[in-house]
């Protein structure tokens, strides 16, 4: 394996495109280093993107924020603006691993690693985040939900990598939240997770909602049926229950060392309902 630390996007894409063998991106390293050690990844070239100019930046953009691909969970959690705008995304990213892992792990890495249990991904999808991708053919933007395609596999073409993620502006009276279930209080991979983002009109009626659930299918699922249950309601118990049931119905989990099918289908509804209530309260609903 060779290691390269390019200082510009163009240099990085050139290196990636020119590599005849396997190449891999190094951002926070909390996934790739584990895979290297275990022999699960054996790239010929590892491209460390953290020396690229601006890659650590968090910048305001059209009422939202553009988050550089090397911004760690710890750094994002210290950004009052992002935290106020998209608290669910920030809390999701901050749930990944330990304090130590937070010092390195990135949203872009979590996305591209394409785990169905990735914590920040349901929250990003619910937030309608847009990934900016650079590659040999230049720059393109892509909804984050289109990036993971299967466990461990993403849709990026050879030579491409995510350089930043845009968390868009959101209307007034809107917010988001994320919850996951783990057997301990920390240090686990989500057994089930749910992210909800929603907006309320002046009368407190939900007029926009996005629901994404994790660890219950091969990729994070966007559950439009669940979102529909909320839209047009004041998130009364019946709406919330219907929304939970829709999540449960959409889930197609497997039984594995972390949980059973039955457990995941049950608990995804529990979490989705809890998280919708949190988002609702954050959006300004009377609690």
């Amino acid at each position: 394996m060779r290691y390269a630390a390019p200082t510009s996007i163009s240099e990085a894409t050139r290196l990636l495109a020119a590599e005849p063998g396997q190449s891999q991106i190094l951002a926070g390293g909390s996934d790739i280093l584990v895979q290297l050690k275990a022999g699960l990844a054996e790239p010929d070239l590892l491209v460390d993107i953290k020396r690229i100019d601006g890659i650590y930046d968090i910048t305001s953009e059209d009422g939202g924020y553009r988050i550089g691909a090397a911004v760690s969970g710890a750094a994002l959690g210290e950004h009052a603006g992002v935290k106020a705008l998209w608290p669910g995304v920030v809390e999701a990213l901050e749930l990944i691993g330990s304090t130590q892992v937070q010092g390195r792990a990135t949203m872009a890495g979590n996305l591209c690693n394409a785990s169905p249990a990735a914590d920040s991904v349901p929250a990003m999808i619910a937030a309608q985040a847009i990934a900016r991708i650079n590659g040999p053919d230049g720059e393109r933007d892509c909804p984050v939900q289109d990036i993971p395609v299967a466990p461990g596999r993403n849709s990026l073409a050879k030579g491409e990598f995510v350089t930043s993620i845009l968390l868009p502006a959101r209307p007034a009276n809107a917010s988001d939240a994320y919850l996951r279930f783990i057997p301990r209080t920390e240090m686990d991979i989500a057994v089930v997770s749910a992210g909800v983002s929603l907006a309320l009109d002046d009368n407190g009626i939900c007029n926009e909602a996005h629901v994404a659930i994790g660890a219950v299918a091969a990729t994070v699922l966007v559950v439009e049926e669940a979102a529909k249950c909320l839209i047009g309601t004041k998130l009364d118990d019946a709406a919330i229950d219907a929304m939970g049931a829709a999540c449960s119905a959409a889930a197609t989990p497997i039984s594995d060392k972390r949980g059973t099918v039955e457990f995941r289908k049950d608990v995804v509804a529990v979490l989705a309902k809890r998280v919708a209530k949190i988002a609702h309260t954050r959006a300004g609903a009377p609690s």
């Binding site: 710890a74 330990s98 304090t99 130590q100």
Partner: protein
């Protein structure tokens, strides 16, 4: 296999080393620089025994490539005491019997120091969550938490 030349700052001292691309910062500290204070308990970021700070950020040195340390500032357990004077956290760990076997102790101390730099007055719950990535199998954590809380109070001058 071509080695990479790295210049970094370790506990305030500028050091240079050659490393293989896949070697971690932990590997280099332990195997090339004779700094064995940071321990490898898992090699996957799950135990915290290899905790160091890089540019002030708490990280697992097993999850950092040695090549990434180029131009960075790394602080380890070896840099924690000021000469013969122990850091208040080190002293409180002794006073509270916060270690049994001691293998996790350097990681806990480095992590706790990073916590108190960010939050000088943490609640017990905040200490427990901050340190959740540092595994201890001997103590049940009780005396470790007490030591950190007491050190925080002393450092605040309380």
């Amino acid at each position: 296999m071509s080695n990479i030349h790295v210049t970094t700052t370790l506990n305030g001292d500028q050091v240079e080393y050659l490393c293989e691309p896949q070697e971690t910062l932990l590997d280099v500290m332990r195997d090339r620089l004779d700094m064995t204070g940071a321990k490898e308990g898992c090699g996957s970021g799950d135990c915290g025994a290899c905790s160091v700070t890089m540019n002030g950020r708490l990280v697992c040195s097993c999850l950092v490539l040695a090549a990434e340390a180029e131009g960075q500032e790394v602080e380890t357990i070896e840099g924690m005491a000021d000469g013969e004077t122990l850091h208040p956290l080190q002293q409180k760990f002794l006073d509270h019997a916060a270690l049994q076997c001691g293998i996790c102790t350097p990681g806990f101390l480095v992590a706790a120091k990073a916590l108190l730099a960010k939050n000088p007055d943490p609640t017990e719950t905040e200490v427990r969550y901050w340190l959740a990535g540092n595994l201890c199998r001997c103590t049940g954590y009780d005396k470790i938490i007490n030591a950190v809380m007491d050190a925080a109070a002393e450092m605040r001058g309380a």
